[in-house]
C-alpha cells in the first residue's frame, strides 16, 4: 500500500499540467475519461461497495441534466442552483426506487431489472413532456466560449476539463473516505452477507438507501455537467440503456468495488474506443458498426480473462 500515494500524487500532477502538454482534441478525450471515471465511481458506491446492481443509472444523469438544463433554458438560472435541484430530485428518485425495492425485498436480477424499468419509464415520460422539448430535445444557449463565466458555467474547453478533473478527484477522495469509514464497512458487510450484517446491528434497509442516495446525488452532478458541456439533451440519448451500460463498463472492466478500478476502466475504454476509431480511419475501413464490433470483442476478452477487472490484476503485478 506504500506506493499508492506516490502513484496518486504523480497522476494528480500530470492531470493538472495536462492542458500545457496537449491540444484541444486530446483535452476533450481527457475530459471524457474523467467524466466516465466520475460516473463509474458514483455507480461503484452502490454496486461495488453496497452490492446493489443498478442497470439504470442513466436515469440520474438524465434527470440531473434536465433539471439544471430546464432552469437555465426557461429562467436563465445558472447551474449552481441547478445542481442543487438536480441532486434533490435524483436523491428523491433514488430513495423512491430503493424504498420500494428494499421494502418489497426485491434483490439481485430483479432489482437490476427494476432499475432498467424506471430508467425506460422516465425516458418515455420525457419523450412526452413538452416543457422540456419532448423527443425534439432541449438546446441550451451557447453565448461565448472565450472567457470563464463560472456563474453560468460557460467557457472554453479548458474550463470544462478542470471542472471535470475537480469532480473526478472529489469523487475519488469521497469514495476513499467512505470506504474507510463506518459506512464503507457496513456496505461491504451487506454486500458480502446481508443476514450476518443485520445480526451485527446494521439496519441494512437504511444503509442500502444511503448508498443509493449518495450514488444518485453524485450521478446527478454528472448530469448537470453533461447538460452544460454538450448543450443539447434528447430523452432518446440521455436515458437510453446504452448510456447506463457505458457508466457500468468502466468500473466492471477496471475492477468493481476498488477505488482505482473506475478510473483505470474509464481510461482504458475511452482510449480503446478512440484508438479503434483512428486505426480504422488509418486503414480506411469506415463502415458503420465496425468500431463497436471491435470494442465488443475486446470487452468480451477482458470480461472472460480478467473476471475481477484490470486493476486487481495490475495491483498484484505492481505490488501496490
Amino acid at each position: 500500500m506504500k506506493r499508492s500515494p506516490v502513484l496518486l500524487a504523480v497522476l494528480a500532477a500530470l492531470l493538472v499540467l495536462l492542458p500545457l502538454l496537449v491540444g484541444n482534441y486530446a483535452l476533450s478525450v481527457a475530459t471524457l475519461i474523467l467524466y466516465f471515471a466520475y460516473t463509474g465511481q458514483a455507480w461503484n458506491v452502490m454496486m461495488g461497495f453496497a452490492g446493489q446492481l443498478s442497470l439504470g443509472h442513466a436515469v440520474y444523469v438524465g434527470v440531473g441534466a434536465y433539471a439544471a438544463g430546464s432552469l437555465f433554458f426557461h429562467y436563465g438560472i445558472g447551474p449552481w442552483a441547478g445542481v442543487c435541484l438536480a441532486i434533490a430530485l435524483c436523491v428523491a428518485l433514488g430513495l423512491v426506487i430503493g424504498f420500494l425495492a428494499f421494502r418489497f425485498r426485491i434483490s439481485g436480477v430483479y432489482f437490476a431489472l427494476l432499475t432498467i424499468a424506471f430508467a425506460e419509464f422516465t425516458r418515455i415520460g420525457f419523450d412526452h413532456l413538452d416543457w422540456t422539448g419532448g423527443p425534439g430535445g432541449m438546446f441550451l444557449r451557447v453565448a461565448q466560449r472565450d472567457t470563464w463565466d463560472l456563474a453560468n458555467f460557460r467557457g472554453p474547453p479548458l474550463m470544462y476539463y478542470y471542472a471535470m478533473l475537480a469532480l473526478a478527484a472529489g469523487a475519488f477522495a469521497l469514495c476513499a473516505w467512505l470506504l474507510r469509514s463506518r459506512a464503507g464497512y457496513y456496505w461491504q458487510a451487506i454486500r458480502e452477507d446481508e443476514e450476518a450484517a443485520q445480526a451485527l446491528g446494521i439496519n441494512t434497509f437504511r444503509w442500502k438507501l444511503l448508498a443509493v442516495a449518495i450514488s444518485a446525488a453524485m450521478t446527478a452532478v454528472a448530469g448537470v455537467f453533461f447538460a452544460f458541456y454538450y448543450n443539447n439533451l434528447f430523452p432518446e440519448q440521455i436515458f437510453h440503456i446504452s448510456r447506463s451500460i457505458e457508466i457500468i463498463l468502466g468500473p466492471v472492466i477496471g475492477g468493481v468495488g476498488t477505488l482505482f478500478g473506475p478510473v483505470l476502466g474509464a481510461t482504458v475504454l475511452t482510449l480503446l474506443s478512440d484508438g479503434i476509431t483512428e486505426a480504422l480511419a488509418a486503414v480506411g475501413w469506415e463502415i458503420p458498426g465496425i468500431k463497436q464490433v471491435f470494442y465488443g470483442v475486446v470487452l468480451l476478452a477482458v470480461v472472460m480473462f480478467l473476471p475481477n477487472g484490470i486493476w486487481p490484476a495490475l495491483a498484484r503485478r505492481l505490488r501496490l
Binding site: 418489497f104 432498467i116 424499468a117 418515455i124 472492466i253 470494442y295 465488443g296 468480451l300 473476471p307
Partner: protein
C-alpha cells in the same frame, strides 16, 4: 371514443402479435429458469433471426415459415456454442459479470448486423400478407394469424419436450436442483448448453414469424431485449406459461395504449405494468416464489 369493432380488431391483433412476443420471451424464460443467467443479448438474437429470414427470402424466395427450419437449426447450434463456450464458465460468477459478458455479445451482434445490413429497414413481401379473414366485424390478417399459430405450435412443442422426454425431464431436474442433478450423474453443462440452444430456437421461430409483422432494423435489438424482460417478469421469470401469458398481455396493452393514448406511449404502459408487477408480485403472475 373509438368504435367498439375497432377496439375488438385492435385487441385481436394485439393477442396475435403478443403470442409471437410470448414465444420470444419463452426463450428468455427457459434460459433463465434453467441456467439462471439473464440473456441480455436476447433481442439482438431476435433481430438476427429476422435478418436471416429476410436474407433467405431475398436470395431464394424462401417463405419465412419455411425459413424457420434452417434458421432454427442454425440458432440451435449458435445457442449451444454460446452457452458451452462462453456462458458456462460464468455461471458461478456474480451477476454483473454475467451481465457484462452478454452485453459484449449484444454489442457485437447489433453492430455486426449494422455493418452487414446497414441502417435501412428490411422486410419480406409475401402475397398472403395483405389478405385477411373476416369474422363478422373483425378482420384478421392472414400473416399475423399464421405467425401466431407458428408461435403456439413451437411453444407447445417445447412444453411437450420438457414434460414428456427424458432429456426434458433431466433439464428440469437441473433447474430444480443443480447439485442434486450432478450427484445423480447428469451432465449439467451439456444440458445447460442444450437449454440455451432451445431458447435460441424459440427466438429463431419468433424472429421468422415477426418479419411478417414488422420491418427489421438493427436498433430493434435492444428494444426487443427490454420487451422480452418486461414480458417474462410480468408473466414470471422461469415460468413457461407465464411467458406466453405475459406476451399476450403486453401485446394487447401495447395495442390498446397505441389506440387510446399515443403509439409512442405504448412502451411506457408496458414498463409501468412491469414496475407494478415487480412491486406487488415479484415472482410474476404465474411464477413461483423462490
Amino acid at each position: 371514443m373509438p368504435a367498439l369493432d375497432l377496439v375488438a380488431n385492435v385487441v385481436v391483433s394485439g393477442i396475435l402479435t403478443g403470442l409471437v412476443y410470448g414465444l420470444m420471451a419463452l426463450g428468455l424464460s427457459v434460459i433463465f429458469g434453467v441456467v439462471r443467467v439473464v440473456n441480455f443479448a436476447h433481442g439482438e438474437m431476435m433481430t438476427l433471426a429476422m435478418y436471416a429470414a429476410t436474407v433467405l427470402f431475398a436470395a431464394f424466395k424462401l417463405d419465412p415459415f419455411l425459413a424457420m427450419l434452417p434458421v432454427a437449426a442454425a440458432f440451435f447450434v449458435f445457442g449451444y456454442a454460446l452457452q458451452a463456450g462462453f456462458i458456462n464458465p460464468f455461471i458461478t460468477r456474480p451477476e454483473h459479470s454475467q451481465f457484462m459478458l452478454l452485453v459484449a455479445v449484444a454489442i457485437i451482434l447489433v453492430n455486426a448486423m449494422l455493418m452487414i445490413f446497414g441502417p435501412d429497414a428490411r422486410n419480406v413481401q409475401v402475397d398472403y400478407q395483405l389478405d385477411s379473414y373476416e369474422l363478422g366485424p373483425i378482420l384478421i390478417d392472414k400473416g399475423r394469424l399464421f405467425a401466431a399459430a407458428a408461435a403456439v405450435i413451437a411453444a407447445s412443442g417445447l412444453f411437450a419436450f420438457f414434460r414428456y422426454t427424458l432429456t426434458g425431464k433431466a433439464i428440469r431436474a437441473c433447474a430444480d436442483n443443480y447439485l442434486g442433478a450432478r450427484v445423480v450423474g447428469l451432465h449439467v453443462k451439456h444440458l445447460y448448453a442444450l437449454t440455451f440452444g432451445l431458447g435460441a430456437v424459440c427466438v429463431a421461430i419468433a424472429g421468422c414469424a415477426m418479419v411478417l409483422l414488422v420491418d427489421v432494423t438493427p436498433p430493434l435489438g435492444p428494444a426487443y431485449t427490454l420487451l422480452a424482460f418486461v414480458i417474462v417478469i410480468v408473466g414470471g421469470l422461469g415460468s413457461m406459461g407465464g411467458a406466453l401469458l405475459g406476451g399476450v398481455l403486453i401485446g394487447v396493452s401495447e395495442a390498446l395504449a397505441g389506440l387510446f393514448i399515443a403509439p409512442s406511449a405504448k412502451s411506457m404502459f408496458s414498463f409501468g405494468l412491469l414496475i407494478l408487477v415487480l412491486l406487488l408480485r415479484p415472482q410474476g403472475l404465474l411464477g413461483r416464489r423462490a
